[in-house]
C-alpha cells in the first residue's frame, strides 16, 4: 500500500534521549541517533526487546516527552508539546473508571470543544465500529479486558488522527482475546475502513509485528538504536500459513537473538560507547532466573541432539520474545548453549548441566559464572578483601549505578544475587542488605531450590 512516494506524516531526525543518572553521575543514553519516517498508508511496527527504548521513542513521537537532542516533525512542522496528529491506544487501556464507555470515548472531542450533539453522534459511530454498541452506558469495570481495549480503540478512532499509535495494545490481554482483537483491527485496516491514515505499533511480539505491519523497524538495546528494517512483502492480510510468513518470522528471530548481525541492506550499527568494556559492572546481565535457565536447558536436552529452532522453542513454551530472549542470552553467556543463525544448540557443559544432580549442577554453574561473567569475580574479590568477609549491598549498587539508570541497576543487582546465591558464591541477607562469603565448609544447598516453574 505504501511506497516511497507517499507523503511523510511524521519524521524523526537524529533524535537522542538521555536521562540523568542519580547523584550527578552523568547520563544514561536510552535512544541514540534515531532517524525514522512514518508515511501515509503504511502500518509500521517498532520491534525491540525491553530496554530498547521503543516506548520512549513512541512517546517522543507523540510529543509526550521531549527529545534531548534532534527533533520530530509532524506534518512538516517541528513538534512542540503533544502531537495533534496522533491518537494513542495504551497498553493498560488508560480508561477513566468513573466515566461510561461513551463519556470515555467523547473525552478527546470534549477537549476540542465540540458541541454535545455532534460529540454524541461521533462517539456512537466509533463505538459501533469497534463492535460495542449496546455498551454505551456501561462503566469500564463491568467490561472484560478485551472490551476495555475496544473502548481504547474507539476513543482513538473518534478523533480521526493522521497516525494511530499503539503501545503494545494486546499484551495485557489473554492469548485468545488478543488474537481475536488483532484480527479485527487488521480486517478494518485491510477493508480501508480505518479511521487513520497510518498505524505505528510498538511491540515485542515478532509474530504480531509480521502479521500487522508493512514494515518492521528493529531496535537494538544499550543504547536503543535502529538496527534496520524488514519489509513484509506479503499480500494483505498476511496469512500465517504462507511459508514466506514463517520464514520472515524466523529471520527476525535470528536478528533478535544475534545482536551483532547487521540487518539486511542497512548500515552497520554505530559502535558502542568506549567505556563499556572497562568495568565488569558495565556488562549487562540478562534478566533470567536460574530456574528459568535450567528449565530451558532441561527442555532443550529432550530435543534431538539438543538443537532447536528458536521460533519452535518459543512456540513450545508459549513465550513472547521478550520473555524467552533473556533466558537464551543467559544460557549463551554462561556457555551452556550456542546460537547460530536461528538455531540454538546445547554445548557439552550445557548437556552435563541438564542431566546431572542438583549439587553437581551448582558446581557447574559456579564454574561457568567465574569463568565467563567478570562481574562475579569482581564481587568475590571485594568480599575476600574485606576482613569481615562481607559488604553492604549499596556499595555494589553504586558500581552498577554508574552504568545504568537506578531501576535497571537494581534489577542487575537482583539478578546477580539470584545467580550468586544459587552458585553458593555468596549469601545475601535481605534485611541487613549485606553480602557475605559463606563460612568455609558450610553447606548451603538448601537455599534456593531449582525449579522449572518459572519457564
Amino acid at each position: 500500500m505504501s511506497s516511497a512516494a507517499s507523503p511523510v506524516l511524521i519524521e524523526v531526525e537524529k533524535v537522542y534521549k538521555r536521562f540523568p543518572l542519580p547523584e550527578g553521575k552523568g547520563e544514561f543514553t536510552v535512544l541514540s541517533q534515531i532517524d525514522l519516517q512514518v508515511r501515509a498508508g503504511e502500518v509500521l511496527a517498532l520491534l525491540g526487546r525491553s530496554g530498547s527504548g521503543k516506548s520512549t521513542l513512541l512517546r517522543i513521537m507523540a510529543g509526550l516527552i521531549p527529545p534531548s537532542q534532534g527533533r520530530v516533525l509532524s506534518n512538516g512542522q517541528p513538534l512542540r508539546g503533544p502531537n495533534p496528529d496522533v491518537a494513542m491506544v495504551f497498553q493498560s487501556f488508560a480508561l477513566l473508571p468513573w466515566l461510561t464507555v461513551q463519556e470515555n470515548v467523547e473525552l478527546g472531542l470534549q477537549a476540542q470543544g465540540i458541541p454535545r450533539e455532534i460529540r454524541r453522534q461521533k462517539a456512537l459511530k466509533a463505538i459501533d465500529l469497534v463492535g460495542l454498541d449496546g455498551f454505551e452506558n456501561a462503566y469500564p469495570k463491568e467490561l472484560s479486558g478485551g472490551m476495555k481495549q475496544r473502548v481504547g480503540f474507539a476513543r482513538a478512532f473518534v478523533l480521526e488522527p493522521k497516525v494511530l499509535f499503539m503501545d503494545e495494545p494486546f499484551s495485557a490481554l489473554d492469548v485468545l482475546t488478543a488474537e481475536n482483537l488483532r484480527g479485527e483491527i487488521d480486517e478494518l485496516w485491510n477493508a480501508q475502513a480505518f479511521p487513520s491514515q497510518s498505524i505505528l505499533i510498538v511491540t515485542h511480539n515478532i509474530e504480531e509485528a509480521v502479521f500487522l505491519a508493512d514494515r518492521v523497524v528493529i531496535l537494538g538495546s544499550n543504547p536503543g538504536r535502529i538496527r534496520g528494517e524488514v519489509r513484509i512483502d506479503l499480500p494483505r492480510p498476511h496469512e500465517r500459513t504462507d511459508p514466506r510468513f514463517k520464514s520472515l518470522v524466523d529471520y527476525i528471530y535470528e536478528i533478535m537473538t544475534n545482536p551483532e548481525i547487521a540487518v539486511t541492506g542497512e548500515v552497520a550499527l554505530p559502535a558502542l560507547a568506549g567505556d563499556k568494556a572497562a568495568s565488569p559492572y558495565a556488562l549487562p546481565l540478562p534478566h533470567a532466573r536460574v530456574g528459568g535457565i535450567s528449565g530451558l536447558l532441561e527442555l532443550l536436552v529432550e530435543w534431538p541432539q539438543g538443537r532447536a529452532e528458536i521460533s519452535n522453542l518459543a512456540e513450545r513454551l508459549k513465550l513472547a520474545v521478550d520473555d524467552l530472549l533473556p533466558i537464551l542470552d543467559a544460557a549463551v553467556l554462561l556457555g551452556f548453549a550456542e546460537v547460530t543463525g536461528r538455531v540454538v544448540q546445547l554445548t557439552e557443559i550445557g548437556q552435563d548441566f541438564a542431566n546431572t544432580t542438583i549439587l553437581r549442577s551448582k558446581d557447574l554453574f559456579r564454574q561457568q559464572l567465574l569463568a565467563r561473567v567478570p562481574v562475579f569475580r569482581s564481587l568475590l574479590q571485594t568480599l575476600e578483601e574485606k576482613g569481615s568477609r562481607s559488604m553492604r549491598a549499596d556499595f555494589f549498587l553504586d558500581l552498577w549505578d554508574e552504568h545504568f539508570p537506578h531501576a535497571e541497576a537494581e534489577r542487575q543487582f537482583a539478578t546477580a544475587i539470584d545467580w550468586g546465591r544459587y552458585a553458593e558464591l555468596f549469601e545475601y541477607d535481605a534485611s541487613e542488605e549485606r553480602l557475605y562469603l559463606p563460612e568455609p565448609g558450610e553447606i548451603l544447598s538448601t537455599e534456593e531450590p531449582v525449579g522449572i516453574d518459572q519457564v
Binding site: 480508561l95 473508571p97 477537549a111 476540542q112 470543544g113 456501561a138 469500564p140 476495555k148
Partner: protein
C-alpha cells in the same frame, strides 16, 4: 446493559414516592439551616452580654443543630482549602518544597493550643457580633480536619496512573477538564474516607471550642459543647446524660444521611478496574438514584454545565512549557535547597531570640521536662491500648460475621467525642481518690485507643486466608502463631493506628491533664496543663513556648520512631 428492572430495583420504593420523600427532605433541611443559621448573627456586647446556656434538655436539639452546622461549615472550608493547597503543592515543585514540610508541621501542632490566638483575632475581626466566636470555633474544627484531607489529595495527585496522565495530555484536556475529569475523581475515594475520619475527630474540637476562657474572659457559644460545660459547672449528672444521648443521635444521623450516601456514591471512583467485592450500601443513596427529580434537575443543568466547562476550558487551555535543561534544573535545585536552609535558620534564630528575651532558657528546660512527663503518659497509653485491644481486634478481624457487626460500633466509638465522657471520669476519680497524674492517662485513652482497635481489626482482615490455613496446617499455636503470622500481618495497620492514636493523645493532653467538676479542679503535671494554664491567663510567650515544645515532641517522635516503623512495615511486612 440491563433493559428491564432488576429484582432489587423493583423492591425499592416506586419512583413517585421517592420523589416525594426527596422534596420533603430538602424542604425540611432548608428550613432547619435557615432557622439555625440566623442564630449566628445574634448581637452581643462582651463582656456585658454573653449568650447564656439554658440547661433545659428541650433545648438540646437546637444546640445540637448549631454544633452540627459549625461542623459542616468547617468541612466545606476544609474541602476548599484541600483542593487549592493540594493542587498547588502537587503542580509546582517550588511550592511543593515549602508547602509539604509546612503541612507536616501544621499536622503535628496541637490544635487546641491555637484557640486562644484565634479567638482574640476573630473577635477583633467581627466586633459586636457572635460571628467572631463562631468563626473562631469553626476555625478550630477546620484545623483539626483539614491537614490529612490535604495530604490525601496531594498524595493522590502525585500517584495518578502514568497512562491516564499521558492520555489526558495527548487528548489535550484543558486544566479545568483535567481537574474535574481526572484529578479530583481519582482522589475522591481517599478524600471522602479521610474527610469522614476527620469529621469524626472534629466533634472533639466542637466540644472544646464552644466554651473557652481566654485572657481571663469566658466565651460561650450556644452548642452541645457549651451545654456540657454548663452542666459540669452545675454538677448536673442527668443533664450530662441527655447531652451524651443527643451527641450519639447526631453522630448516627450524620452518618446515615451524609457519609453513607457519599461513600456509596464515591465507590464508582475506585481506580482498580475490577468490580470490588463489597460495595458500600446506603438507603438514602438508593432513594436518590431511584427518584426522577435529581436526574431531571441534572438534565436541565447540563447545558449550563457544558457552558461552564467550555468557558473554564478556554481559560485553562493546555500550555506546553519547554522543560529546563539538566544544568538549569540542577541550579534551581541548589537554589531551592539554600533557600529552605536559610528559612529554617531564620526561624530558629527568631525562636531563640524570642525565648531569650521573654521567658528565659530555664523555662525551656521546664517545658521539656513537662513534655517528658506527658510523653510517658502517651507511651503508657499506647502500650496498654496495644496489649488490650490488639488481641480483641484480631479476634474480631478473624471472624467475618463479628467484624461486620462490630466495625460500625468501633467507628462510632472513635467518632464519639471523648471529652463528653470526661465529667463522668472526673467524678469517678474524685470519689475513688485516684490521682489525676495517672487518671489523665485514662482520659487520654478514651479517645485514642479506638484507632488501635479498628486498625487491628482491619489488619487482621487483610491477612490472606491461605496464610491462616497454612498456620493451622503446620501447627502454629499460641505465641508462635502471633510471632510468625499475626504480628507481621497486622504490623503496618498497627503502625497507622499507633501514629493516629499518639497524635490524638498529645492533643487530648491539653484538655485531660486538667479537668474540673463543679468547683473542684484536678491538675496533673505535664505539658498539656502548662499550655492550658498559659492559655487561660493569656500568657503569650508561654503559650508559644508550650505549643512549640509540644510540636517539637510530636514531630521528633514521628521522625525518629514512627517513620522508621513505617519503613519497616513497607519493606518487610508488606502483604
Amino acid at each position: 446493559m440491563r433493559t428491564f428492572p432488576s429484582p432489587e430495583a423493583l423492591r425499592r420504593l416506586p419512583a413517585g414516592a421517592a420523589d416525594g420523600a426527596i422534596i420533603l427532605g430538602t424542604l425540611v433541611l432548608l428550613a432547619l439551616v435557615a432557622q439555625v443559621g440566623v442564630g449566628a448573627f445574634e448581637r452581643f456586647q462582651p463582656p456585658a452580654v454573653v449568650p447564656r446556656i439554658d440547661l433545659d434538655p428541650r433545648n438540646l436539639p437546637y444546640y445540637a443543630a448549631r454544633s452540627t452546622l459549625r461542623m459542616f461549615i468547617a468541612l466545606a472550608f476544609s474541602t476548599l482549602f484541600t483542593l487549592i493547597y493540594g493542587y498547588i503543592a502537587a503542580k509546582s515543585r517550588w511550592a511543593e518544597r515549602i508547602l509539604i514540610p509546612l503541612l507536616d508541621i501544621l499536622q503535628s501542632v496541637p490544635v487546641l493550643g491555637f484557640l486562644s490566638i484565634t479567638v482574640t483575632g476573630f473577635i477583633a475581626l467581627f466586633p459586636g457580633s457572635l460571628l467572631g466566636l463562631e468563626a473562631a470555633s469553626i476555625f478550630a474544627i477546620f484545623t483539626s480536619q483539614v491537614w490529612n484531607m490535604t495530604f490525601s489529595f496531594y498524595q493522590s495527585l502525585r500517584t495518578l496512573p502514568q497512562e491516564l496522565v499521558e492520555a489526558a495530555t495527548l487528548y489535550r484536556l484543558s486544566g479545568w477538564q483535567r481537574f474535574t475529569q481526572l484529578e479530583v475523581p481519582a482522589a475522591m475515594v481517599g478524600l471522602i474516607w479521610n474527610a469522614m475520619m476527620s469529621f469524626g475527630g472534629g466533634w472533639f474540637f466542637v466540644a472544646a471550642s464552644e466554651a473557652i476562657s481566654v485572657l481571663n474572659q469566658e466565651y460561650t457559644l450556644p452548642g452541645l459543647g457549651s451545654y456540657v460545660e454548663a452542666a459540669i459547672q452545675a454538677e448536673d449528672l442527668p443533664k450530662l446524660g441527655w447531652a451524651l444521648l443527643t451527641m450519639a443521635g447526631v453522630i448516627l444521623l450524620v452518618d446515615q444521611l451524609f457519609w453513607r450516601p457519599l461513600v456509596a456514591w464515591s465507590d464508582k471512583f475506585r481506580l482498580e478496574q475490577s468490580s470490588g467485592a463489597a460495595v458500600p450500601e446506603s438507603w438514602l443513596y438508593d432513594l436518590l438514584t431511584t427518584a426522577r427529580i435529581p436526574r431531571l434537575i441534572g438534565g436541565w443543568l447540563s447545558p449550563l454545565a457544558e457552558l461552564v466547562d467550555r468557558l473554564l476550558s478556554y481559560l485553562t487551555r493546555p500550555r506546553w512549557v519547554d522543560p529546563l535543561s539538566p544544568e538549569a534544573e540542577r541550579r534551581r535545585e541548589r537554589l531551592l535547597t539554600q533557600l529552605s536552609w536559610a528559612a529554617i535558620g531564620g526561624i530558629g534564630i527568631w525562636i531563640v531570640y524570642f525565648v531569650a528575651t521573654t521567658v528565659g532558657f530555664g523555662e525551656v528546660l521546664l517545658t521539656f521536662g513537662l513534655g517528658i512527663l506527658t510523653l510517658l503518659r502517651v507511651s503508657v497509653l499506647l502500650v496498654f491500648a496495644t496489649l488490650i485491644w490488639t488481641p480483641i481486634g484480631v479476634a474480631i478481624g478473624f471472624n467475618p460475621k463479628l467484624a461486620k457487626l462490630l466495625q460500625p460500633v468501633v467507628q462510632f466509638l472513635a467518632a464519639f467525642p471523648a471529652n463528653f465522657l470526661f465529667p463522668f471520669a472526673t467524678l469517678f476519680f474524685i470519689r475513688a481518690h485516684i490521682s489525676i497524674e495517672w487518671g489523665s492517662i485514662l482520659l487520654m485513652s478514651l479517645g485514642a485507643q479506638w484507632y488501635i482497635l479498628f486498625n487491628s481489626i482491619a489488619g487482621a482482615q487483610s491477612i490472606p486466608t491461605d496464610l491462616r490455613e497454612m498456620a493451622v496446617d503446620v501447627g502454629l499455636r499460641g505465641w508462635q502463631r502471633w510471632r510468625k503470622l499475626i504480628i507481621p500481618g497486622i504490623f503496618s495497620a498497627w503502625v497507622t493506628g499507633g501514629v493516629t492514636a499518639s497524635g490524638g493523645a498529645w492533643n487530648a493532653s491539653i484538655v485531660s491533664e486538667i479537668v474540673a467538676w463543679g468547683s473542684t479542679t484536678l491538675t496533673a503535671t505535664g505539658l498539656g496543663t502548662y499550655i492550658a494554664e498559659a492559655t487561660a491567663v493569656g500568657d503569650w510567650p508561654r503559650i508559644t513556648l508550650g505549643i512549640g515544645m509540644m510540636s517539637l515532641f510530636v514531630v521528633g517522635l514521628n521522625r525518629l520512631f514512627w517513620r522508621r516503623l513505617y519503613q519497616l512495615a513497607e519493606e518487610k511486612y508488606h502483604l
